[in-house]
Amino acid sequence: MAVKRTYYTTVDGYEGENVVEVVENAHADYTVTVDGKSYHVDFEQINETIYSVIIDGNSYAIDMSEKGDKFDILVNGDHFAVEVLDEMKRLMKMRTSSTVEGRQVIEAPMPGYIWKMLKEVGDEVKAGEPIMILVAMKMENEIKSPKDGVVTEIFVKASENPQESTVSIGDKLAVVE
């Protein structure tokens, strides 16, 4: 049974939206229509992030990583950040405003260790003000507050000994309300 979906895609840095219809004919065999133009696509995943994609006879080696509905894609060394939404998600996105409000959980943007704590629970912070410093590969990275508010929780302890304060990407660091 063929699976068929309609998506709305946007690419960072490019204007407008594309309407994409994907039909799965068989395993790895797709017909994709982008803004009314159809392509035949042979799509195989090679390993964790590398894909072999043949579009109407043109062969591409593609490096892709997925973060929710966002896809980081490398084609011939060029990077594209593509967001793929179905109709419902698209409506929800249009509704939610982009301003930073309410309780903000700050997560580690990269793996590293917390070298220095600059704020304590209860401290007032301005948007953009650093709360702690995360060190990764000898580089110091300020972890900044996304909004004006008060630091209500801190989940990590700073230490100059990397073993004691290592964090993984996405680990909760602090909450600003």
Binding site: V3, R5, Y7, T9, V11, G13, Y14, N18, V20, V22, E24, Y30, V32, V34, Y39, V41, F43, N47, E48, T49, I50, Y51, V53, I55, Y60, I62, D63, M64, E66, D69, F71, I73, L74, V75, N76, G77, D78, H79, F80, A81, V82, V84, M88, L91, M92, R95, P109, M110, P111, G112, Y113, A136, M137, K138, M139, N141, N161, P162, Q163, T166
Partner: protein, 506 residues
């Protein structure tokens, strides 16, 4: 000096392997040192002997002077410092001398001499190397200073003597502005550094960073191995280097290289070194500083001259003469190096350590790779993000660029982000291709030009690929939801939200 039969490299990663390679070729035994965090690093396996220098996993530092020298003494090895860590550390060199361990590098005196920027400039100026014109002493009298500025020629830069970070700095284009600029720079310096002293220097328009590789021995011989262009920099960090410089004229090249070789001969420098110059748009060149070590970018020089710089360093440390005379050195073709960093160019170059799930280095002709990684290796958090350097060469610059594009397209790395996409976009950039780029290029112009280039790209392929992936992910999520109904949000909640949503949007 006795013959060197064993070499300990007081370093890690790709540079340790680079030095081991020459040792292995010369029939010299190799010794690696490592920290607990680096137990599985590839340099440990490459070496004939390996010693741990840390007490436990909490200690990640390679700066273990006494222990390193003790090991070298015990196993009878000479020490090569690589770059970073103990390279350019006069105390370390002296400690080696005291322990009777051969240090493969310059003398402590020369390391010290070049360690101070102002000291180095004074020494080099005396040895006949042009330095950036200006006053070395703080300005006391504005009228006198104006006279000097007129002699140097505008534009000039006023700089705080105790300054840094751009504070207390003023660019002056014409004499009318001198006095007010001087007053502002001085008061800014006073506020920021507690001292209002300001000196002046000629401002070099569109500066290029060009350096000359030199080699000297203990028998008074000194040669140069021509120049490298290192103007592609990001946050003062070199990203792409090439040899020879596409910018300087033959006349400038001849003068610069001669001056460099003569200067190190005059000061009696031995081992490998690099004189860094700033070259203006007018081809005038001025000495900046001298690096008394093997540099990351030395392979491009090796590729165009055919000289193994590490081999020469070892021979010189044994007290032997250099194996080349100046007239045996010529430029053969063009070479480019890209430094591969574990960082994410799409996320402001944030460091990206992690597990390399796929790691395939490029192959084929005209390629040289020095890599400190392998598939299955977890790149540690504690060290430099440079994991490899890749070089390409060809008869011409255009050919070397074409080769490099081909080579980088074959470099497959999964699990972490790397700077490879950034390199590829530089290699496609028109200003870079023209060969006329200055040190401000990446920070000032590159992003704009890149944006323009990217706007003309077709987004159909990424859109198709992302959409198919999204469909597959949704299918996978759906099958998971069927087998594990308790995972994820409730379908009722989702249904309710959809109903609400359609109401609010009418």
């Amino acid at each position: 000096m006795p013959e060197i039969k064993k070499v300990l490299v007081a370093n890690r990663g790709e540079i340790a392997i680079r030095i081991f390679r020459t040792c292995r070729k010369m029939g010299i035994k190799t010794v690696a040192i490592f920290t607990h965090a680096d137990r599985k690093a590839p340099h440990v396996r490459y070496a004939d002997e390996a010693y741990c220098i840390t007490d436990g996993p909490h200690d990640t530092s390679y700066l273990k002077k006494d222990r390193i020298i003790d090991i070298a003494k015990e196993v009878g090895a000479a020490i090569h410092p690589g770059y970073g860590f103990y390279a350019e550390n006069a105390d370390f060199r002296r400690a080696c001398d005291d322990a009777g361990v051969i240090f493969i590098g310059p003398s402590a005196e020369h390391i010290e001499m070049m360690g101070s920027k102002t000291g180095a400039r004074a020494v080099m100026a005396e040895a006949g190397v042009p330095t950036v014109p200006g006053t070395k002493n703080p300005i006391r009298d504005v009228e006198d200073a104006k006279k000097v500025a007129r002699e140097i020629g505008y534009p000039i830069m006023l700089k705080a003597v105790y300054g840094g970070g751009g504070k207390g700095m003023r660019l002056v284009h014409k004499e009318e502005d001198f006095e007010s600029s001087f007053r502002m720079a001085s008061s800014e310096a006073l506020n920021a550094f507690g001292n209002g002293d300001v000196y002046m220097e000629k401002f070099i328009i569109q500066p290029h960073h060009v350096e000359v590789q030199v080699l000297g021995d203990m028998n008074g011989n000194a040669i140069h191995l021509f120049d490298r262009e290192c103007s592609i920099q990001r946050r003062h960090q070199k990203v792409i280097e090439e040899a020879p410089s596409p910018f300087i004229s033959e006349e400038t090249r001849r003068k610069m290289c001669e001056v460099a070789a003569n200067a190190i001969k005059k000061i009696g420098y031995y081992s490998a070194g690099t004189l860094e110059f700033i070259v203006g748009a007018d081809q005038n060149f001025y000495f900046l500083e001298m690096n008394t070590r093997l540099q990351v970018e030395h392979p491009v020089t090796e590729m165009i001259t055919g000289v193994d710089i590490v081999r020469e360093m070892i021979l010189v440390a044994e007290g032997k003469p250099l194996s080349y005379k100046q007239d045996e050195i010529s430029i053969n073709g063009h070479a480019i190096e890209c430094r591969i960093y574990a960082e994410d160019p799409t996320n402001n170059f944030a460091p990206s350590p992690g597990l390399l799930t796929v790691y395939q280095t490029p192959e084929g002709p005209n390629v040289r790779v020095e890599s400190g990684a392998y598939q299955g290796y977890e790149i540690p958090l504690y060290y430099d993000p440079m994991i490899a350097k890749v070089c390409a060469n060809s008869r011409t610059r255009a050919g070397a660029i074409e080769n490099m594009k081909r080579i980088l397209s074959e470099y497959m790395i999964c699990g972490i982000k790397t700077s490879i996409p950034f390199h590829l976009s530089v290699l496609k950039n028109e200003t870079f291709l023209s060969g006329i780029y200055d040190t401000g290029f990446i920070n000032n112009k590159f992003d704009m030009e890149e944006l323009k280039r990217k706007q003309n790209l077709d987004i159909t392929v990424p859109v198709i690929v992302a959409s198919i992936k999204q469909l597959l992910s949704e299918k996978m999520a759906a099958s998971r939801a069927v087998t594990r109904p308790d995972v994820g949000e409730s379908n009722w909640k989702r249904f309710g939200r959809m109903i609400n949503l359609s109401k609010t949007l009418g």
